[in-house]
Amino acid sequence: MSKSKIGTVEAIMLFLTIIVVHTILSLPKNILTSMKSASLLNLIYVSIIAIIIAYIIFRLFKKFPGLDIIDISEILGGKIFKNIVGIIFITYFLLTSSLLLRNFSESIKIVYYPMTNIIFILAFFVIAVCMANRLDFSATLKSNLIIVPIVLVSIVFLFFANAKQFTPERMFPILGEGVFNTFVIGLSNIASFAGIAFLYFLPPLLKEPEKLKKITLISVGITALYLILSVSTLLFMFSFFITTNEISPLYNAARYIEFGTFFQRLESVFLLIWMLAFACYLSIVSKFSMNIFKKLTNLETNTPLIDIFGLLIIGLSLFPKDYAVSQTFETKIYPSLVIGIVFIFGIGILILANLRKRKELKHE
């Protein structure tokens, strides 16, 4: 992985991968359920905060050029702290990707493979990821560079193709459940910007590290627009996502697309695109996890880890007894994990490292 450097556009797409897969699942519905008609206002508010946080992260990295959060934690707390940080991030990446994979596979099973055991659907993704990870990281990045824009375009298409059925008045009452719910409790929707986690590991991998600021701001900006578009589609189309739980809400929206009697049932195309996006996401997340592990253990190559991490993903994704458990993880635990690890823990390390650096500079 370290051999192949990441270009600016590739880095932006990498950032967007997380939001893409999470939006396919229940992220827009979760926002709608908690924020109701104030979802769009809340998203605009949360997006502004996410842009500010991303900029703060960029500023905090400025004093550590070419280093990622693992290197910085070593500077801050030595090898033990570095190992703790590394293990926390590996656990976070593997746990979240596994359980998101489980949820996605459950949706596919319900729609297309009712008689197939879930383990084969999970294995289908994991084997593809293991094969992709045997290739150079640039192969995954380039695939991602093709797939993510297609997904983004598909969401724009989904929005405009369903526009005839929209009821834009559903964005009112503008404050939804009230000011406190929208602006204080709604702050937890910052978890939608989980892609910021990649920023912690990007600096040493970038071809042009000086463009980190540009990458950060553009990525967060596109994520915000993408999220607003997805949530708008559901908010304007359906009244039931606020009270009723459905598997993959965007898939449901895709079922409504019809152009006369000829172009119908386009949801299959959407699902195919989303499957590819999911495989890219898994590949990227496992690559990052392996890279952290390699850093912690001073391994020379990732290759021996590929199958082990693949099996770990399958094992973790089989951990929930049923869909209800994995859904609870996605709706209740995942946002807390993102806020705790990505926003509080990650930024905390960077702030402390910056303070230490300033202290050292003062002493010198």
Binding site: K36, S37, I110, V111, Y112, Y113, P114, M115, T116, N117, F120, A123, F124, I127, T167, E169, R170, F172, P173, I174, L175, G176, E177, G178, M237, F238, S239, F240, T243, T244, R255, Y256, E258, T261, Q264, R265
Partner: protein, 406 residues
């Protein structure tokens, strides 16, 4: 050796995946499926359901292209829709697939008891398309299916897919699909509605009552239409929650579609200002989207509806003078006052008689409140019956069509 082990591993993996996914493939194979075109649901004794499934018959190559395949209808009485499906699966020896089901018919009797369980079950099914039409039949749903014999289509599935198209230019039936019905069922600003279906045989002796105005007050089961196709669809079945509370005739359906901005053009008979007791047929096209404003400053909502139309005179007789601006203005005024009265009567009917906001006027109320709590306290769904309506129609009659003066 390494290469051999790797290739063997890949080969075994492929075999495993083929076996694993083949069960899903077989279950969805054409040979194992029976495609349902329509479902009719009637109520039976002891809270049971009588569910009729209509299947298409495969056309044999020997029968020729002109021969119409006779649809097969299987009926089963069961405690629930899912049990009925299971019983028919067992009877047919094939699995019912509803991905091509174009129409779901509920009998009026069942709709009076409430159909939310059936709607939730159907929406929960991955095969049922949200675009499947919902019809409430004045007669038994099974009888409706049996009497549906399209005259101009060889394939009944084609008829089910296109029969609602005429509503864009007649305005006699709404575009009521199961997706929209479910959405309205849960919605706090509106109520669901369905297409009103029935038989055209019961009105065979009604011809003496027909006049220009009565043409527009027809409903399904009560129309002067004769033909081979026994089933007809005219009007709207109005629901409050999941229970039917009334029906709307053709003219009221035109009003519904106009206020909903769901109509391209429509023909209407208005009183002729030039000749008392005579009517003029006008083709009207909405000039703008209907503007609806709701004042909720009082507990009694005040709804202002403004519509604009452009029209051309369709009916022509000897000595018609449609080039004079005065005559056209007078026809426009007559059209305005007539439509204002029709739309107003329709709105008051949905409000006072049905207390059912099928037009989703409630969506215009939302922006009057800052929080959901304020909106819920206003209780639009129950308050709709207290609403006052002020309808303003502006029509601009341009001329006749090919003839302007005779």
């Amino acid at each position: 050796m390494n290469k051999f082990i790797r290739n063997s591993f890949i080969f075994i993996l492929i075999i495993i995946f083929i076996i694993a996914f083949s069960s899903s493939y077989s279950s969805l194979s054409l040979d194992n499926l029976a495609y349902v075109l329509a479902i009719g649901i009637d109520s039976a004794d002891n809270n049971a359901l009588e569910v009729s499934f209509q299947f298409s018959t495969p056309i044999s190559p020997e029968s020729g292209a002109s021969e119409k395949p006779t649809p097969i209808i299987n009926t089963v009485t069961a405690s629930s829709l899912s049990t009925a499906i299971n019983l028919v699966n067992s009877y047919l020896g094939k699995q019912i697939n509803m991905s091509h089901c174009k129409i779901i018919i509920f009998s009026e009797e069942l709709a009076e008891q409430g159909i939310s369980d059936q709607i939730y079950t159907l929406i929960n099914d991955t095969q049922v398309r949200p675009s499947a039409n919902i019809v409430v039949s004045k007669c038994d749903a099974k009888y409706y299916l049996e009497q549906t014999k399209p005259e101009l289509e060889n394939l009944i599935s084609k008829y089910y897919e296109t029969f609602t198209n005429s509503s864009r230019y007649t305005g006699y039936i709404p575009d009521a699909t199961i997706g929209k019905f479910f959405n309205s069922l849960i919605c706090t600003t509106c109520e669901p509605c369905a297409i009103l279906g029935g038989m055209n045989e019961t009105s065979s002796n009604n011809t003496e009552q027909v006049d220009s105005q009565k043409d527009y007050t027809i409903t399904a089961n009560n129309s002067p239409i004769r033909g081979e196709n026994g089933a007809e669809n005219i009007g709207i079945a109005v629901f409050k929650g999941d229970k039917i509370v009334g029906e709307l005739n053709a003219l009221e359906t035109i009003s519904f579609l106009n206020i909903k901005n769901d109509l391209d053009r429509f023909l209407i008979s208005i009183p002729n200002p030039e000749s008392t007791n005579n009517y003029l047929d006008i083709y009207l096209t909405p000039a703008h989207t209907t503007d609806v404003k709701v004042d909720t400053s009082n507990q009694t909502p005040y709804v202002k509806v403004k519509c604009e139309f452009v029209g051309r005179i369709y009916s022509m007789s000897k000595d018609s003078k449609y080039l004079s601006p005065e005559v056209l203005d007078s026809i426009s005024n007559s059209c305005n006052s007539y439509l204002e009265s029709v739309f107003s009567d329709y709105l008051y009917k949905t409000s006072k008689e049905f207390n059912s906001d099928i037009n989703n006027i409630g969506k215009h109320v939302l922006k009057n409140f800052f929080t959901t709590k304020q909106y819920e306290d206003y209780d639009w769904s129950e308050n709709y019956k207290n609403a006052f309506f002020d309808v303003e129609v502006n029509t601009s009659i341009k001329s006749g069509m090919l003839l302007t003066e005779t």
